[in-house]
Symmetry: C2
């Protein structure tokens, strides 16, 4: 015995009650000319009183767009839900979207193909007016796809694309200064005396992974570090731990490790703890993305602190600009500050000169 829910009022109801035509109601409620201020007020009052809200489908059908933007997350389930980055980002995105009364259609898929298929379907069904794209890749097919579909999009964390003079790019981009952050991190460690630095990176197919790797190499060359290297992982804790073990087992193990996200870093810290390697006395650790996690563990992890929510907000702003008809363009996020915490300290010196630790519990 389910109560029949209250019927939702339509513009017709308002028109009837206000004694005007539906068109007048439409004009009044959309701030269009064609109604006198008095009538407008009256209509507005009636609408308010009836609790009227425009029916999304009807709006969309008459060419107004769906008032929705999409976001697809394509990550294998294993590495999903471990980084605080995404929820923070989404939280920031929402702040901006809420102001514009835009909804966020969210989808989690397994891989890139499914992601592209989702974009196509959303486009074909007119479900979204635009999309936010994360995790830019090497030779990314998505800008072309979205550009071809004419679906407004913002690629988050991508450098400015190269386009011919006068041309405008297919989609907007919001850059995070990966190279700059890497340089700052290496600089921080170098200043502490570290000369052997290893970078435990994320998925090699992501463009930012490549940029970070390249930047490390460049910085190492600049500073004359001959023993700087990167190893890639899938962002999972298990690969983070495994990579850490492998790296520490080397003949001349690094004295400092840079991890591409917080999960990898925490896994690395656990390996150090397990081996009895003192952090930061024998080994310094840095996490790329700051998070509650980095501050929760002991010692707390040194990390670049950026305002991820603001990052999301800016991305959403770039998208709404696009929806308003602005041409696609590039925005650059400011360089975050490196916050030194307990996990980094002066490089070890003396005979041992490295994190070999007590007898390995191989």
């Amino acid at each position: 015995m389910r109560r029949t829910p209250a019927r939702r009022p339509t513009m017709k109801d308002i028109a009837l009650r206000a004694g005007v035509s539906e068109s007048a109601v439409s004009f009044a409620l959309n701030d269009r000319p064609g109604v006198s201020p008095v009538t407008r007020d009256r209509i507005r009052r009636v609408a308010e009183q009836l609790g009227w809200q425009p029916r999304a489908a009807a709006r969309a059908l008459s060419g107004e767009g769906s008032a929705t933007v999409g976001l697809v997350l394509a990550r294998p389930a294993r590495t999903l839900g471990v980084e605080s980055f995404f929820l923070q980002l989404v939280s920031g995105i929402q702040e901006e979207l809420a102001e514009r009364k835009l909804g966020l259609l969210f989808q989690v898929v397994e891989g890139l193909d499914a992601e592209c298929a989702t974009y196509r379907r959303w486009w074909a069904e007119h479900r979204v007016d635009g999309v936010l794209v994360v995790d830019p890749r090497q030779d990314d097919p998505r800008p072309d796809l979205l550009g071809g579909l004419g679906l407004p999009a913002v690629m988050i964390g991508a450098p400015a694309p190269e386009v011919a003079e006068g041309e405008s790019p297919a989609i907007s981009t919001l850059g995070a200064d990966d190279a700059g952050i890497m340089a700052a991190l290496v600089g921080h460690l170098h200043a502490l005396g570290h000369r052997r630095i290893t970078h435990i990176a994320g998925l090699p197919e992501f463009a930012h992974t490549q940029r970070r790797i390249a930047s490390l190499r460049a910085e190492a060359a600049r500073l004359g570090l001959t023993e700087a290297a990167s190893v890639t992982t899938d962002y999972s804790d298990s690969e983070g731990a495994a990579a850490t073990r492998r790296v520490l087992d080397r003949d001349r193990p690094p004295t400092a490790l840079i991890y591409d996200n917080d999960v990898l870093a925490v896994a690395g810290l656990a390996v150090a703890t397990e081996r009895g390697i003192r952090v930061p006395d024998q080994l310094s650790l840095v996490a790329w993305d700051d998070s509650v996690l980095c501050r929760s563990v002991h010692p707390a992890l040194t990390a670049p602190v950026r305002d991820t929510a603001a990052f999301g907000r800016h991305a959403a702003q770039a998208l709404t600009a696009l929806l308003d008809g602005a041409p696609a363009g590039h925005t650059q996020e400011p360089l975050p500050r490196i916050e030194p915490r307990g996990s980094t300290g002066p490089a070890p010196t003396g005979p041992q000169e490295g994190p070999s630790g007590p007898p390995k519990s191989s």
Copy 2:
């Protein structure tokens, strides 16, 4: 110079090309009687070839529902994005929704009022066909609200509601056996010899927090533990650390701590590490929700391992059943298995008998 995007085909295009009326197309594509098998096939082929997809808004407008379900997350930004629980849950939800071609409209808001306002707006705008509700509360206003609106809903992690015989509840519920898990955790610790157990709980306004607290009390009474207690937090790492410090500073500190989520637990572990308290020799720790995090830290945290993605899938299934016209009902998740890891061990014995640790670094 943006290319004009390809025009998306409509049923009219199909009708034209197949040489039939629009109605025939509609019948054919919706498996309705009224077209011969031959014509149906022809129409289907044309549709396929044109890459036709029904336009969501048009469908919705003609009474088919929006093919979208909603999910609102109402948590203060501070505690957002720290738990892997939600993304895992959403990931599971999506698996089920994808099969039914349902979209997920996602919203992050600051508080309960905003959450309710979101439901009202979605309902008024016909934006969603149903919603998934998380974080049930004491005296939760949402079931009544949603029931009154006639918006199908599944409350995740709620016990079966009390309804009069023959009546059906306003919304469906999907129960997680909080009491059972707590009993199992206490049983695990009790078997290890622990007699002084403290529960670092989450937000007191959540119903599951109260159930856990009540269950701890009941188990303690049953087992004759006089020194079991719960303290509540806001789920943040800082309160988790603070609560841990406070509890450990007591005259007779507990020998085991149960944390209501992984973030709290990791924060607690960091406090122990910082104070030089050996885990699990001097202090045992348990985290409520398993996650990569629990396995990443050292020692790894004992936790009940449940399949959170499956949980989400079941919730989505309950909702789709509702959308199919089934009456609201209750489903119960199975009791998860407790996985003992490095963070729990036998209760400390001897003169010291507790985790006072080395001189406190007050």
